[in-house]
């Protein structure tokens, strides 16, 4: 557990970077500090590993004031990931990852096996071990940065905008993998970002900070979307709050309608027989995995892959209402496809049915 108590930071020129910050980042959880630039989120993060010292107040890790610990010793026990990686350009991927184990004096063998293990864990092919950072893509560099921070298995990880230097597609991939990794490792993570969507996606708890270094709201992502504390938070959280909050309404079993299906290769007559008067027919594979929709008016022969209209998203039964609504809205038939955790068809649901579920929920 990381606890800030009445922390302030005033620079000699009078700038107030942090003002009365009190905050607790619970063990094993992801706490995200988010806010506009100049709100002191990075300053706060860097106080945890004493890269910056507070002017007043204390920062504690598991009840121990960090100011009482040796800075170098403290830092070797805290994973540190920064924007664009901060990799050592003159060292290979393997040597970069081995940095802290070397500082701690691990044996060569220990380091080699740990490095190999971590590369696999963060999704780096082992043949990249001998590459240099300038031979890697941005996403790969970021993975090396994460592997390097995890090397000595620190209980605490500090991450300063680790995914903001890569393109949106890679960023989303890295975020998903980060969440998967965290579900396996359960680190105490403090994560800084200026991107509220990233904060809402990754956080167990979010601290929204405002310029001047105060916390405007400290809440769960759903709480932030549903009950913004003030106009600043509401504005910062942005539009579509109500819709985005549906993303946190999960675990609800929506009543679905059974959907007639057909497989690729079926004849025109078979398809017409199954569809009846319906304009759209759902195509599945032999394991009942949905493949796409068939427009009956367009069909002129046996069902082929080329006839399928893709583009409809799938919702998992028990997943979020947001995913279910999106499935309904994105389906050409206007019937959202719901599958079970194995990806097999459960049935379909209309937007109206999803909204009816949403209506029933407390706000």
């Amino acid at each position: 557990m990381i606890r800030f108590t009445d922390v302030t930071k005033t620079y000699p020129n009078g700038t107030q970077a942090i003002n009365g910050l009190s905050l607790t980042a619970p063990t094993g959880r992801i706490t995200v500090l988010v806010g506009p630039s100049g709100c002191g989120k990075t300053t706060s993060l860097r106080m945890i590993n004493r890269m910056i010292e507070p002017s007043t107040g204390t920062v504690q890790i598991d009840g121990r004031d960090v100011a009482e610990l040796g800075a170098a010793q403290l830092r070797r026990g805290i994973g540190y990931v920064i924007q664009s990686g901060g990799l050592f350009p003159h060292r290979t991927v393997a040597d970069n990852i081995a940095t802290v184990p070397r500082l701690l004096g691990w044996s060569r063998q220990q380091i080699a096996s740990r490095t190999a293990e971590l590369m696999e864990r963060v999704g780096l092919d082992h043949h990249l071990a001998r590459r240099y950072p300038n031979q890697l893509s941005g996403g790969q560099q970021q993975r090396v940065g994460v592997a390097r921070a995890l090397a000595a298995d620190p209980p605490v990880m500090l991450m300063d905008e680790p995914f903001s230097a890569v393109d949106p597609i890679v960023r989303e991939q890295l975020q998903d993998e980060f969440l998967r990794l965290q579900s396996e490792l359960g680190k105490t993570i403090v994560f800084v970002t200026h991107d509220i969507d990233e904060a809402i996606k990754l956080a167990d708890q979010v601290a929204v900070m405002r310029v001047g270094g105060t916390v405007a709201q400290f809440d769960t992502p759903a709480g932030l979307l549903r009950h913004p504390a003030d106009a600043f938070v509401a504005d910062f959280v942005g539009r579509d709050r109500g819709f985005r909050a549906l993303g946190f309404d999960s675990g609800i079993t929506i009543r679905t309608t059974p959907e007639p299906t057909i497989e690729v290769g079926a004849s025109l007559e078979q398809a017409r027989a199954v569809a009846g008067s319906a304009a759209w027919l759902l195509v599945v594979d032999s394991d009942q995995h949905p493949l796409g929709w068939l427009e009956m008016a367009e069909l002129s022969g046996a069902v082929q892959d080329a006839d399928l209209r893709l583009g409809g998203t799938l919702a998992v039964q028990g997943g979020s209402l947001r995913a279910a609504l999106d499935a309904a809205l994105s389906a050409p038939s206007k019937r959202g496809v719901v599958v079970d955790v194995d990806g097999q068809l459960v049935g379909t649901v209309s937007a109206q049915q999803v909204l009816a579920e949403a209506e029933r929920l407390p706000r």
């Binding site: 590993n49 890269m51 800075a71 170098a72 010793q73 403290l74 830092r75 070797r76 026990g77 540190y80 920064i82 924007q83 664009s84 990686g85 901060g86 990799l87 050592f88 350009p89 003159h90 060292r91 290979t92 940095t99 802290v100 500082l103 240099y132 950072p133 300038n134 031979q135 940065g145 390097r148 921070a149 500090l158």
Partner: protein, 239 residues
């Protein structure tokens, strides 16, 4: 041009106690002593300035000022002042090397502090954040990353020293400068031109040696060519 080739082509000019080989040897010894001394002073100072950011303006200004000193004038001054205090050959050798060291320091110093300053701040921040202490950051991150610029400074200092070490002959020390001075005294233009050509050739050879050394000690991760070379190799192997 013929007298140049005649002089260089005459085997008698190459051997003996004042032959070309001996002069090249002397020239290299003076230059090497100079560079070692200058580097021993300038590299630690430059690393310190780059690492701490302290005294930067002072050092930069002094180093730039030193570039403007007239080497020949300084040499005669040094011989006049220091010469009488020193015995025998040292009366000339010490002032000559001193002056060359002053010449060599600015580029080496500039290379060292600019090299450290040019190191990616994020990498330095990460190094500190992972628990490296000051000297570990310097030795493990800043120094190796500063090498390309630092060796560049050393290289240009070496070229300047080799070119300027010809002046040592004017205070009756050896080296390739002898051929220039003797040649002029005897109106032997073949010898003069030959001396000049030899100095230039020596400078180029030393430069090539430095390039080779740089390839050897600078991490491939710091040279962008690593990507293209590898890419080329893979391209060739797949075709």
């Amino acid at each position: 041009m013929t007298f140049l080739w005649q002089w260089l082509g005459d085997p008698a000019n190459w051997v003996g106690p004042d032959g070309i080989w001996v002069r090249i040897g002397e020239h290299l010894v003076y230059s090497a002593i100079t560079l070692v001394l200058a580097a021993a002073l300038a590299i630690p100072l430059g690393l310190w300035v780059g690492h701490t950011g302290k005294a930067r303006r002072l050092v930069v200004n002094v180093a730039n000022g030193a570039r403007a000193l007239p080497t020949l004038g300084l040499l005669f001054l040094a011989v006049l002042v220091a010469g009488p205090l020193l015995p025998g050959d040292l009366a000339f050798a010490v002032p000559a090397i001193l002056v060359l060291v002053i010449l060599a320091i600015p580029p080496i110093l500039a290379g060292a502090y600019a090299g450290v300053e040019a190191v990616d701040r994020q990498a330095v921040d990460a190094a500190r954040g992972m628990g490296m202490v000051g000297h570990q950051v310097l030795l493990n991150v800043e120094l190796p990353c500063a090498l390309p610029l630092m060796l560049g400074g050393l290289r240009s200092a070496a070229l300047q020293v080799i070119a300027t070490a010809t002046l040592a002959a004017s205070v009756s020390l050896g080296g390739l400068g002898r051929f220039l001075i003797d040649g002029q005294a005897y109106r032997d233009y073949g010898q003069m031109a030959g001396g000049a050509v030899l100095v230039a050739a020596l400078a180029m050879v030393v430069d090539v040696v430095f390039v080779g050394f740089q390839r050897l000690v600078v991490s491939p991760g710091l040279t962008s060519s690593v990507v293209t070379r590898r890419g080329l190799r893979e391209h060739l192997s797949t075709n």
